[in-house]
Amino acid sequence: MSPYLTAPAPRADHPPVQREAEVLAARPVGAYVELTLAAPEVAGRAQPGQFVAFAVGGPMTANLLRRSIAIAGTDGAAGTATVVVAPHGPGSTWLAQRRPGDTVDVVGPLGRPFPLPEPGTTALLVGGGYGAAALVGLAALLRSRGSRVLAVTGAADAARLCSVEELGETADVVAVTTDDGSAGRAGRVTVAVAELIGGSGIAYACGPMPMLRAVADAATAAGVPSYVAVEESMACGIGVCMTCVLPVVGADGLTRFSRSCTEGPVFGGDRVRFADVGSLPWDVVGADAMGVVRP
């Protein structure tokens, strides 16, 4: 028997496309901007947990690398996809400044979606900051399959909370936490997670790495399988550059540097070696060829 509670997430059902998409709406939501894009092929193919990669800065740009942004929602009938952008550096700030009528070059849907549990399984969804947006579609899909959905969304402050309303429409329970107590309970999402994990059959998380690690650890300790959508620095988003790797335990029990973009962003929470991110442990496949030997 595998000592792991999760199996690696399978590939998505459809390959990505590259399209020019018109921005139909740009709506500020707290500290973020929600963009609605006319992208029928992306909307028609996307599964919860997947992301898109944008070219930023326009034709004269000196910022060549794509920016990866989670898909927050799709409307197949309308042919639209939404994303929630947090202005951070030059690329995400440029994206957040797009206005209706502008076009953006988008590649997607990319990455592996969240694997789904047996219909009816109670699911705990944990979103940190804009990470909560990526869970809205998942919540709806789980509900349609008969799951009870318990959602926890947390952020540093009220302005950085995201998708509380949307999650409220689908989830059975929504717990809100902020570090500074400006909305919901004061404290980290982990407080709410500790209370809800025992009643859950599966957990999902999207947000900053320390939060993912805390949720994965809590789930694993409770014997609950968890899937986390990671955020690692990406240059291409499509699997060709090898910049976005994390140490992840595969189906065969061996740790490899796995690409977050094509083998993730959804990984089994108990398969990501969070403590080893940014280092090269000796037991990663191929570490010996780098001169790293077993201690």
């Binding site: 590259q18 060549l64 620095s233 090898m242 910049t243 490899r256 540097f257 940014g278 191929g286 060829a289």
Partner: protein
Amino acid sequence: MTALDTAVDMTTALGSVPLVGPVLTASGCSAFGQELEPFVDLTTLGAVVTKSVQLRPRSGRPTPRMAETPSGMLNSIGLQGPGIDGLLAGELPWLAERGVPAFVSIAGTRVEDFAELATRLRGVPGVLGLEVNISCPNVESRGEVFACDPVAASDVVAAVRAAADPAQPIYAKLSPDVTDIVPVARAVTGAGADGLSMINTLLGLVIDPDTMRPVLGGVTGGLSGPAVRPVAVRCVWQVHQALPEVPILGMGGIRSGLDALQFVLAGASAVSVGTAVFSDPSATARVHTELAGALAARGFSSLREAVGYAHR
């Protein structure tokens, strides 16, 4: 564009091997081609140049592995890859089944590694030829990069030429991080290289002003993208001027057909598109179409006529 496109003969060759078109991927910038399948028809590329392979599987370096820089990027991947056994069992058959020609990049830290890799690749279906990535540290010479020493570079090339399938042309991939690239080019062609790939990345460093430490896990990294293009065009120009008979696969910052045209005019008979694929996954096909249009607009009826035209 299509009318102009078909008017120009875009066929070319790598050494003695004919290619349907002059645009190839660049080693390490399109993995082994699979991921580009949704975006481009791989069979229309000159070839897929595969990520440099070594004898054993390699994990590559710890993250962070990249930093964006003005019109480019710094990378420190550390040649992550499956090793030659994995390549022969998985990636090369995948390309061969689809009729996609592979130009296999090989790398090593000693001369014998390169020779063994060339031996293993003899007669492998779909392998057009070998690109020898000599921008690797030589363990037998305190880690000095082979490509920076004409003698070490030609030792590798001679060993590869002796071991490789005679039907497979071998291209030595040169580093721009040398005082004068011409003596290295002369040395490796003298040692049997059928052609030259240039340029590899330039060594660079980025420091994070917040942490006040180097951004990359590997400290230094290779600079690529349009930022390096003038350096690359200069290298191609100098080598073509000195060795006009030697075929050149030009690369470094190609993003458009006009960029590719500069390399052709400087003396390249084929080009690789690397970092631009990260920003535009269909860049290879687009560059081909744009280059064909640019050649037609300048009155060329074939790519071959334009090779080295700027030297007239």
